[in-house]
C-alpha cells in the first residue's frame, strides 16, 4: 500500500508548519487530505498516564473546540491525546493525529481502532515512511509537528519535564498561544501545567478561552435540560466536586437505586460522567432521556 504525501514548498503543505525552525521535508498522509488544515487547528496534548479528571477535561475541551468548528490535533498517545481525539470525534468534528512512527503503524496498538475512526473523517500524518518502528527518541520530533500544525496548544495535564511540555515549548518558539489547565498544587500531574502558567501560559478555564483567542464563535449552549427532580438534586450536589454514589445518597437523601437512575439520566444527558467510582459534573449537555417511568 502506498500513502500520499506532501512536500515542503509543494502543494498542500501547511503554511503554519513551514514556520517551524526545521519543518519536515515531507509528510505522509493516511485517511483524508491536507484540506482539513484549512480549518483553524488547536493542539490538545498531555500526560499519557493521566487522571480520570484530566481525561474528562481533555475530552470536553476537544468536544467544544470541535463543535465550534476547530480541528483538534494531537499525538494519538494514550491518556490525554487519545481523549482529545475521542472528544473531537464525539462532537462529529475533524481531528488530526500525528505519529512518531511510520505512517502505516498504529502506535500504541490499543489505539488501532481509534486511529481507524480518525482516518475515516480526519487525517493521520507522519514524517516517517511506512515501516519505521515507533521509538521514544522520535516523539519530541513528532511533538514539533503537533505544535507546528496548530494555531494554539492546550496542555491538559503534564508532569515536570514531560513530552507535552516539549510541545508547548515548540508552540512558544513559534509565537503561538499556549494554554494550560491549572491543577492542584499537590498533584505531580499538574506540576508541568502549573509551571507553564507561571511562565506566562494562559490558564484555561473553559474551551471558550481558546475560541475567543482564535476569534471563533462559541457553539450555542445546550438548552436547559428538562431533568427529573432526583436528577436536579443529584446534579446540584455534584457542583461541590466529584462524589461517590454513597456520598450522593447521603447528601441528597435519595435512595441508592434512585440515585443510580438519576446518575444515568445525567450521564445520558451529557451532564455528568463516571470514572473509578467517582461521579463528576461536566460543562456540556444534551437533551436528557425520560427515565422516570
Amino acid at each position: 500500500m502506498t500513502y500520499p504525501s506532501v512536500s515542503k514548498g509543494g502543494r498542500g503543505y501547511p503554511p503554519l508548519l513551514a514556520e517551524l525552525h526545521d519543518p519536515p521535508a515531507r509528510l505522509f498522509l493516511r485517511g483524508g487530505s491536507m484540506d482539513v488544515m484549512a480549518l483553524p487547528a488547536v493542539a490538545v496534548v498531555g500526560a499519557r498516564s493521566c487522571s480520570s479528571y484530566g481525561a474528562q477535561v481533555a475530552r470536553e475541551v476537544a468536544r467544544e473546540l470541535s463543535a465550534a468548528g476547530a480541528v483538534v490535533v494531537s499525538g494519538l498517545a494514550r491518556g490525554i491525546d487519545g481523549e482529545a481525539h475521542r472528544g473531537a470525534l464525539a462532537a462529529g468534528g475533524l481531528t488530526v493525529a500525528v505519529l512518531g512512527c511510520g505512517i502505516d503503524r498504529d502506535y500504541p496498538r490499543a489505539h488501532a481502532e481509534l486511529a481507524r475512526r480518525i482516518a475515516e473523517s480526519g487525517l493521520i500524518v507522519s514524517e516517517y515512511p511506512p515501516g519505521v518502528e515507533p521509538s521514544p527518541w522520535r516523539f519530541p520530533a513528532r511533538n514539533r509537528i503537533v505544535a507546528g500544525l496548530a494555531r494554539a496548544t492546550v496542555v491538559v495535564e503534564a508532569r515536570e519535564r514531560s513530552g507535552a511540555l516539549i510541545t508547548a515549548d515548540f508552540a512558544l518558539e513559534l509565537g503561538r498561544e499556549v494554554f494550560a489547565v491549572p491543577g492542584e498544587i499537590t498533584s505531580a500531574l499538574s506540576a508541568g501545567t502549573n509551571d507553564l502558567i507561571r511562565q506566562g501560559a494562559t490558564p484555561l478555564l473553559s474551551a471558550g478561552d481558546v475560541l475567543d483567542a482564535l476569534g471563533l464563535e462559541r457553539a450555542p449552549p445546550a438548552p436547559p435540560p428538562d431533568l427529573s427532580p432526583e436528577g436536579q438534586a443529584v446534579l446540584a450536589c455534584l457542583s461541590s466536586g466529584a462524589l461517590t454514589l454513597d456520598e450522593i445518597v447521603r447528601a441528597t437523601r435519595v435512595g441508592s437505586a434512585e440515585a443510580a437512575v438519576a446518575l444515568t439520566e445525567l450521564e445520558l444527558a451529557g451532564l455528568a460522567v463516571h470514572a473509578d467510582g467517582l461521579y463528576r459534573r461536566t460543562t456540556g449537555g444534551r437533551d436528557p432521556p425520560a427515565v422516570a417511568g
Partner: protein, 484 residues
C-alpha cells in the same frame, strides 16, 4: 469356599454397585486383590489382614483371592476395606454369609481395626437403597450422613463390632436422622455500615443470580461484602441441599457433625489455587471449588492474581452450570451453578478509586493489568460495582439492614422471576438504544444491562421493564477499560 459383600464405586456423583467376592482355596497361603484396584485399594490387603487380627478374628491360612466386579470399573480409594474384610470373614464362615448379603458395606480400616469415614457415603447409601438394600454397614461418624439417603445405617466403630453385629451378638445404637436446621449462620449485612451502593447491588445479584465484579482500592470492604452474599441468597430446597451435600461428601469435605448442607455454600479459593482445585480433576475425580460452590457463592478475591489457565478453565462451568471431567472410563459430570463474585483493584498500585492518593501506574502497566482478564471472562460479569474509598464519613452511617430482611425481598422476587421474566417494552428499548449511541456500551454490554434490568423490575414487582429499571441497570455497566 466363596462369599460376597456388596459395596459401591464412586463415578463422579454416582455410585455403581461393586460385588466383592472372596474365594478361599487350598494351597500356599496368600492374598490377592484383582478387578482393577488402584494403589489405595490394593493396599487394603495390609489393612484388612491387620484389622482382622486386631479384631481377634482368624486370618484364614488359605490362598485368598478377592475379586472386585465388574472388572472394567476402576476401584479407587480405601472404602473397600470393610467389604473386603467382611467377605473374607464370611468365606471362612466366621460370620454368616446370608446375613452379610442383606447389607451394603463401606469404610476404611485402620491397622488396629477401627473404622474410618470415606468420601461419598451419602452417594453410596442412595445407590444401596435404590438396589433394594435397606441396611448399610458404615463407620459411626458416617452414619448421620448415610441416614440422609433414607437407608438404615449400621454405625460401627470397629471391625469387631461389625462381626459381632453380623453374628447377632451386638446391636448398635440407632442413628438420629440429621434434621434440617440452620447450622450456624453466615456473617450478616447488618455489620456493614453505609455502602448503600454495594448493598443494593448485592440484592440484585442475589435475586437474579448474576455474577458481579467488585472494583476498588484495597480496604474498602469488597471481601467483607462478598462474604455476606450467601446470607441473602434464597434458601436451599431439600433437593438442592442434598445435591450440595453429595458434592461435598464426594469431595471429602463434609462435616460429620452436621452432614446436611442446608444453606447456600460459600467458597473462596486462594489465588494460587490450581485449575484442578478450582474446576475439579485429579483422582476420583474430585469436584473442584466451582462444584463445592454449587447453589452458592464462589468468591475469587483479587481476580487478576489468579493464574490465567484457572480463569480460562472457569468459562465452561460458568457457561454450562456444570463441569465435565474426562476420566479413564468416560466422563464425570459435576454440577457447578454458582454466583461468581470477583474482586479487583482498579490498577496495579491500587490507588485508582481513592480520592486521596494519586495513581502512579504507567499506561503499559495499566494495559497489562486489564489484559490479564480475558474478554470472555469479563463478559460473564453482569454487574460491575465500584467501591471507591469513602472520605471518612462512612463510619458515622447507621448500621445496615440485616440480611434476613433483605432475603425476605430476594426470595419472593427470585421466585417471580423464575416463573415469568418481565418484558422489555418500546420505551425501555429506546432508552437502551440511546445508551448504546451515547455511552461507551457494546452490544454484549447491552444484553447484560437488559438482564440486570429484568431483575431490577422483578425486585420492584413490575411486569414489564420500565425505563427507570434500565437506567439503574446501566449504572452497573462495565467501564470501557474493562469491556469496550
Amino acid at each position: 469356599m466363596l462369599a460376597r459383600a456388596v459395596t459401591h464405586a464412586l463415578v463422579g456423583l454416582e455410585a455403581r454397585p461393586v460385588e466383592v467376592e472372596a474365594h478361599l482355596q487350598r494351597g500356599v497361603p496368600g492374598f490377592a486383590i484383582v478387578g482393577l484396584p488402584d494403589k489405595a485399594c490394593q493396599e487394603a490387603k495390609e489393612r484388612v489382614r491387620s484389622g482382622i487380627a486386631s479384631a481377634e478374628l482368624e486370618w484364614p491360612l488359605r490362598r485368598i483371592t478377592v475379586n472386585l466386579a465388574p472388572a472394567g470399573l476402576r476401584k479407587e480409594g480405601s472404602g473397600y476395606d470393610l467389604p473386603i474384610a467382611l467377605a473374607v470373614l464370611a468365606a471362612s464362615r466366621q460370620i454368616p454369609p446370608e446375613r452379610l448379603a442383606e447389607h451394603a458395606a463401606v469404610g476404611e480400616l485402620a491397622l488396629d481395626g477401627r473404622l474410618r469415614p470415606v468420601p461419598g457415603i451419602i452417594v453410596a447409601a442412595e445407590a444401596a437403597r435404590r438396589a433394594g438394600l435397606g441396611l448399610l454397614l458404615c463407620p459411626l461418624e458416617s452414619a448421620p450422613e448415610a441416614a440422609l439417603a433414607g437407608i438404615e445405617p449400621v454405625p460401627l466403630r470397629h471391625l469387631a463390632e461389625a462381626s459381632a453385629y453380623l453374628q447377632g451378638r451386638f446391636r448398635p445404637a440407632p442413628v438420629e436422622p440429621a434434621v434440617a436446621t440452620a447450622n450456624g449462620s453466615w456473617p450478616d449485612l447488618a455489620d456493614v455500615r453505609g455502602q448503600e451502593r454495594a448493598r443494593r447491588a448485592l440484592e440484585i445479584v442475589a435475586t437474579g443470580g448474576h455474577n458481579v465484579l467488585l472494583g476498588g482500592p484495597p480496604g474498602t470492604g469488597k471481601t467483607m461484602l462478598a462474604r455476606r452474599l450467601p446470607g441473602i441468597l434464597p434458601a436451599l430446597t431439600l433437593d438442592q441441599a442434598l445435591e450440595v451435600t453429595r458434592i461435598h461428601s464426594v469431595a471429602g469435605v463434609l462435616p460429620s457433625t452436621h452432614p446436611l448442607i442446608d444453606r447456600p455454600p460459600f467458597r473462596a479459593p486462594h489465588h494460587t489455587a490450581s485449575a484442578a482445585a478450582v474446576v475439579g480433576g485429579g483422582r476420583g475425580p474430585r469436584p473442584g471449588e466451582v462444584s463445592l460452590a454449587h447453589h452458592g457463592v464462589l468468591l475469587l478475591d483479587e481476580l487478576p492474581e489468579f493464574q490465567r489457565p484457572v480463569l480460562e478453565a472457569l468459562r465452561q462451568p460458568i457457561e454450562d452450570g456444570s463441569v465435565a471431567l474426562a476420566r479413564a472410563a468416560g466422563q464425570a459430570v459435576f454440577p457447578a451453578r454458582f454466583v461468581l463474585v470477583g474482586t479487583m483493584n482498579l490498577c496495579p498500585c491500587g490507588a485508582r478509586g481513592d480520592p486521596s492518593v494519586e495513581c502512579r501506574c504507567t499506561p503499559q502497566k495499566l494495559a497489562a493489568y486489564g489484559a490479564k482478564l480475558s474478554r470472555a471472562l469479563l463478559d460473564r460479569f453482569d454487574l460491575v460495582v465500584h467501591m471507591p474509598r469513602a472520605r471518612g464519613r462512612e463510619l458515622d452511617a447507621a448500621p445496615g439492614e440485616p440480611s434476613a430482611e433483605i432475603r425476605a425481598r430476594v426470595e419472593p422476587a427470585s421466585g417471580r422471576l423464575r416463573e415469568s421474566r418481565p418484558s422489555l417494552g418500546k420505551e425501555g428499548r429506546d432508552l437502551l438504544t440511546r445508551a448504546v449511541d451515547t455511552l461507551p456500551l457494546s452490544a454484549r454490554g447491552r444484553a447484560r444491562v437488559a438482564r440486570v434490568a429484568a431483575t431490577v423490575a422483578g425486585l420492584a414487582g413490575a411486569e414489564s421493564i420500565e425505563p427507570a429499571h434500565i437506567a439503574e441497570a446501566l449504572s452497573y455497566r462495565a467501564p470501557p477499560e474493562l469491556a469496550p
